[in-house]
Amino acid sequence: MTDEKRLLGLRDDIAIVGIGDTDYAEDYVRARRGPAYQDSYGYAVQAFNRALTDCGLERDDIDGLIVGPTLSTERAGEILGVNPAWSSQADAINAVLQGALALHSGAAECVALIYGNDQRTAGTKYGGPTARGEQFLSYIYYSPWGMTSQGALYAMMIRRYIELHKLRAEELAQVALAQRAFAQLNVNAVMQADLTLSAYLDADYICDPLRIFDYCLINDGGVALIMTTAERARSLKTKPVLISGIGRSEINTDATSLWPRLLDFYHSGHAKAASEVYNMAGVGPTDVDVVGIYDSFSPHVVFALEGFDFFKPGEFAQFVAGGTIGPGGRVPVNTSGGHLSESYMQGWNHQVELVRQLRGQAAQRQVEGAETGQYISDVGGKVISIIYSTSP
């Protein structure tokens, strides 16, 4: 069982001090136009250099390295000239957790987390006969019936929610519309064109009830984060963004038969992770100023906010009315535009955005006085949440 007392020792002990991202809007145009000019490592190096410049640390200060799933630690370390004391490979949110654990334990003092993805250039497919995953993943397993892609799984999840709670298309649309409105305040977002409710409703379905605007982009880019101890962070030029709470729960039972998705909406995992993250940070959902949610598809936002007690079960429609999650709203979500409109950096860009918001560097989309930020990810039933803050 999670020892919440021991975990408390980690509270506010580790900080994100450096952030770097690539020029998503330009990356998108160049990747579509071709020819390829850099690969996943190229994007990652670009972001890494920017993150170093951001915090003022030197390359030789880096003694811990975590790479995203598209990179290897060995090749990344070779390219960056980093021979770390400690290294690992992880997705975005697990990378932040692992970085925090390594720093807290003393295994490293300055950890670089790097991610690069040339998925648009490489023509990566997330559905159909060439999708990755093989047999253990349900959407491949179910191929005789044409069941494929994570998007189709989220379409089934939200269809059941729609039926149970009478959610209307106009109400689900608020996720895509709010994030596009934020993206229009972000010069680095890939999708900045106007998106109206009627354009959303007129758009083609991919997998009914999800339309193209409910799906993330597939684009190239890179992200880097640099983490160190709160103590060392005090000597750096950036305002440290502290990890104040973490919560984690994996739901694997009957996952291939879709039980946790369709009958639980992952809420049993949400409940455990929510209890842990809020207890550790000493806050609740009403204290959160800005939220980041892993949003490869718009339904993620519905299920995550519901599971983390931002509203009562089934009441997304009432909650979202009046622009709650958009610019100027009470619970701003994915303020950079997220995966739907900024860039599909698989959760990495959300960490950069939360740091910017808590530093007060989010330009036109800045949430006034933001001090507490929360990230929630529930990809594949791994429910993980982090609360970031600037005031211990």
Binding site: P144, M156, I206, T256, W259
Partner: protein
């Protein structure tokens, strides 16, 4: 006319499962403590028992959810097509297409029944199972 489909994946644990389906039977592994499991696997997730029989299921179920594909992912399957998730009365959830007449709008918990249908694949003909509304003609 027979439908065309991607070939089902049939690894070491799935082979008996699909062999039964070829005989128009759906059988699931049931461990010696009486727990059904799906998909096929080496042991019972509830009790870790490795002893099991392939037990025939009722074929009765209810509708959990569905989606309609409007994007073509597989060249063999024309769009639009409906994929449904039904809960077998024995417990496990099964994905399949909804086949046969669909007279009314779909609703959660509608009664379903399993039917079998021939499908052409690149490696010859297969029988696959499908869901149908319980009271529909197929």
């Amino acid at each position: 006319m027979m439908i065309t489909r991607p070939k089902p994946i049939s690894g070491v644990y799935e082979k008996p499962f699909w062999n039964y389906v070829q005989g128009r039977e759906l059988r699931l592994q049931r461990c010696d403590n009486g727990h059904f499991r799906f998909p096929p696997g080496p042991s019972c997730p509830k009790c870790l028992s490795t002893e099991y029989d392939w037990e025939k299921v009722s074929g009765e179920g209810k509708l959990i959810s569905w989606t309609v594909f409007h994007r073509q992912y597989f060249p063999e399957i024309p769009i639009p097509y409906t994929v449904v998730c039904g809960a077998l009365s024995e417990g496990p959830l099964l994905i399949a297409n909804l086949t046969g007449a669909i007279a009314k709008p779909l609703q959660v918990d509608m009664p379903l029944r399993l039917v079998f249908e021939g499908a052409q694949t690149k490696d010859g003909n297969w029988i696959i199972y499908q869901w149908a509304l319980a009271n529909s003609q197929v």
